[in-house]
């Protein structure tokens, strides 16, 4: 019982940022789109969309807190791969990643290539770059499209 309560509490605490993001979400769709997009600006709508994709495709290995699993799946918080050059990061999702040390640490599991649209990749990367203690510019669908075009 005690365990269940603590777990529930943990889940509630964990869910709070998501709940906040959800609350901010109902900005009328047209309004967000109509706003002249400031280069690299991060909107709550992008974060909410990105979180959904993260939960469905990334959370199992990288965990709810983005901390990864030591020696197996790399963390997404404050690594040069997430916060650094966008092209390299986009390619990780397009092509997957294997046998790659991240900031000097080896990780054993394979990162599979992700079957996602340009917009979905842009959203999830924007979410990752602005969660788990990260703060970095948004990734735009056009950027993903350009990398995808030159990828093969």
């Amino acid at each position: 019982m005690k365990f269940a309560l603590v777990t529930l509490l943990g889940l509630l605490i964990g869910a709070t940022p998501a709940a906040l993001a959800q609350q901010k979400k109902p900005t009328p769709k047209g309004k967000t789109a109509a706003k002249p997009a400031v280069s690299g600006a991060v909107t709550p709508a992008m974060l909410a969309a990105g979180k959904t994709i993260y939960t469905q495709n990334c959370l199992t290995c990288h965990m709810a807190d983005g901390g990864g699993v030591e020696t197996m799946n790399p963390p997404l918080s404050k690594t040069t791969w997430v916060l650094g050059e966008k092209t390299r990061l986009i390619k990780v999702l397009l092509n997957g990643l294997q046998d790659q040390d991240i900031d000097g640490e080896p990780y054993r599991n394979v990162m599979p290539a992700q079957d996602l649209t340009d917009q979905q990749i842009a959203d999830v990367l924007t979410y990752v770059r602005n969660s788990f203690g990260n703060k970095a510019s948004a990734v735009k669908a056009a950027e993903v499209k350009a990398v995808r075009a030159s990828n093969k």
Binding site: L9, G10, P112
Partner: protein
């Protein structure tokens, strides 16, 4: 009158005598930590932190003379991959030295030799009458050229009573998909990984430079075994497998996230030469107690497996990652523990969104070399508290197990490098 004088004369003598006896006893007595090293244990059991190694402590072995050898996953700052410790009078273990410039998991002492593995090779070191390594800088290479493709890289080792060495070679894959862990990717026909991995290989413990060609694939269809031990009562090798991951992530239309968290069971197997435990073609459903056909190979979540695959000897909660197996033969613990199995569960990572689980040592009772009765959690709370366990952010991750000459149970932790020692005191 006479008797009372005598009584007064005798009383101090008796007191001094019992005090000195007490002093002698307490000197030999292991002193548990007041909080039992943070562990939750059955009544009568106590624990202490025997040592902090500061490294990723994987497997552990103790010689009959009481020297403790710990294999580190990677060499420490001093470049040592194996640590030597010695138990002191209070039960703490003091560092004696270190050697071996390679990381790895396996370590096992038997018959005057210490066996240790990197992720590709098995070495041995001769031990002297005190249990000390004679030539720490000159290991003999017993096995070479084992496959290591990062995933499931550990090579665990054990030696039976007839001079045979058993080594696990884990499959470098989750479920032998064409594209590993890729959503919807199907299984490779006639899974080629099984030729050189996904099984237990048998070698001679006293022959040097053996390889796949000179060894025997003793058992196959085992995705990844880290915990293994020889059961002398049954005269049989027991291994415990890490079951496959991510049924929902790969086949979301067949499995819910909850099913994915609870499937498949982590299975203990009693092996005979030639056995096939079924990976990657099947997984074991611990709730239905059925061998199920893997979705990569025609399964749909409901179809049972076809093929001549062995039954598990016991099944444990999914994804809890059993890393250490030890058959207890000591006499320190109560009778019911004798010849039973202790299993160290490293703890899960892929049960989300369900709470993570594990980070404990389980006891599975045995009778006549076979599991008898239900398993129970023996030592709990390596995580620190329930919230840390549920989040998959434990303080400690139990990995290796060993029995001391006095019957103490040693447990390693490859997160912080703590060595726990569990004793029984009435």
């Amino acid at each position: 009158m006479k008797t009372s004088v005598l009584r007064y004369l005798l009383l101090p003598a008796a007191l001094v005598g019992s005090l000195s006896l007490y002093a002698l006893r307490s000197e030999e007595r292991v002193v548990p930590d007041p909080d039992n090293a943070g562990l939750k244990l059955p009544a009568g059991f106590k624990a202490l932190v025997a040592a902090e190694t500061g490294g990723r402590a994987r497997h552990i072995t103790v010689t009959p003379q009481g020297l403790i050898y710990v294999k580190l996953n990677r060499p420490n700052a001093a470049g040592k991959g194996i640590l030597t410790l010695r138990s002191t009078a209070t039960g703490k273990a003091e560092a004696v030295g270190g050697f071996g410039n390679y990381g790895g998991t396996g370590i096992y002492a038997k018959g005057g030799y210490l066996y240790a593995s990197s992720d590709e090779e098995v070495f041995r070191y001769q031990l002297n009458a005190k249990g000390e390594v004679v030539n720490p800088d000159k290991p003999e290479k017993v096995v070479t050229g084992l496959i290591n493709r990062r995933q499931h890289e550990s090579k665990s080792v054990v030696v039976d009573n007839d001079g045979n060495l058993y080594v696990n070679v884990g499959a470098y894959s989750n479920s032998c998909q064409v594209k590993d862990r890729q959503k919807g990717s199907l299984g490779q026909p006639n899974c080629p990984i099984l030729d050189s991995a996904g099984g237990i290989w048998q070698f001679r413990a006293d022959k040097l430079n053996q390889n796949y060609g000179t060894g025997t694939r003793y058992a196959t269809g085992l995705r990844n075994v880290v915990g293994l031990d020889w059961n002398a009562q049954a005269g049989q090798l027991f291994v415990i497998q890490h079951g496959r991951d991510q049924l929902h992530d790969i086949f979301p239309e067949m499995y819910t996230t909850q099913q994915s968290a609870e499937l498949p069971a982590e299975c203990l197997y009693a092996l005979k030469k030639g056995d096939n435990a079924g990976w990657p073609y099947m997984y074991y459903d611990g709730q239905q107690r059925k061998k199920m056909m893997a979705p990569e190979y025609g399964g749909d979540g409901k179809k049972e497996a076809t093929g001549n695959f062995i039954e598990p000897a016991a099944a444990f909660p999914a994804h809890t990652a059993p890393n250490g197996l030890l058959f207890y033969t000591g006499t320190l613990f109560p009778e019911r523990y004798r010849n039973g199995a202790f299993i160290a569960f490293h703890g899960s990572w892929n049960r989300a969104p369900e709470p993570q689980k594990g980070y404990y040592v389980v006891f599975q009772p045995f009778k006549n070399g076979k599991p008898s009765g239900d398993w129970e959690i023996f030592a709990d709370n390596f995580a620190g508290d329930a919230a840390k366990a549920a989040a998959g952010r434990p303080d400690h991750k139990p990995c290796g197990l060993a029995q001391g000459p006095d019957g103490s149970l040693y447990v390693t932790d490859d997160k912080k490098g703590t060595i726990f020692r569990i004793v029984y005191q009435k």
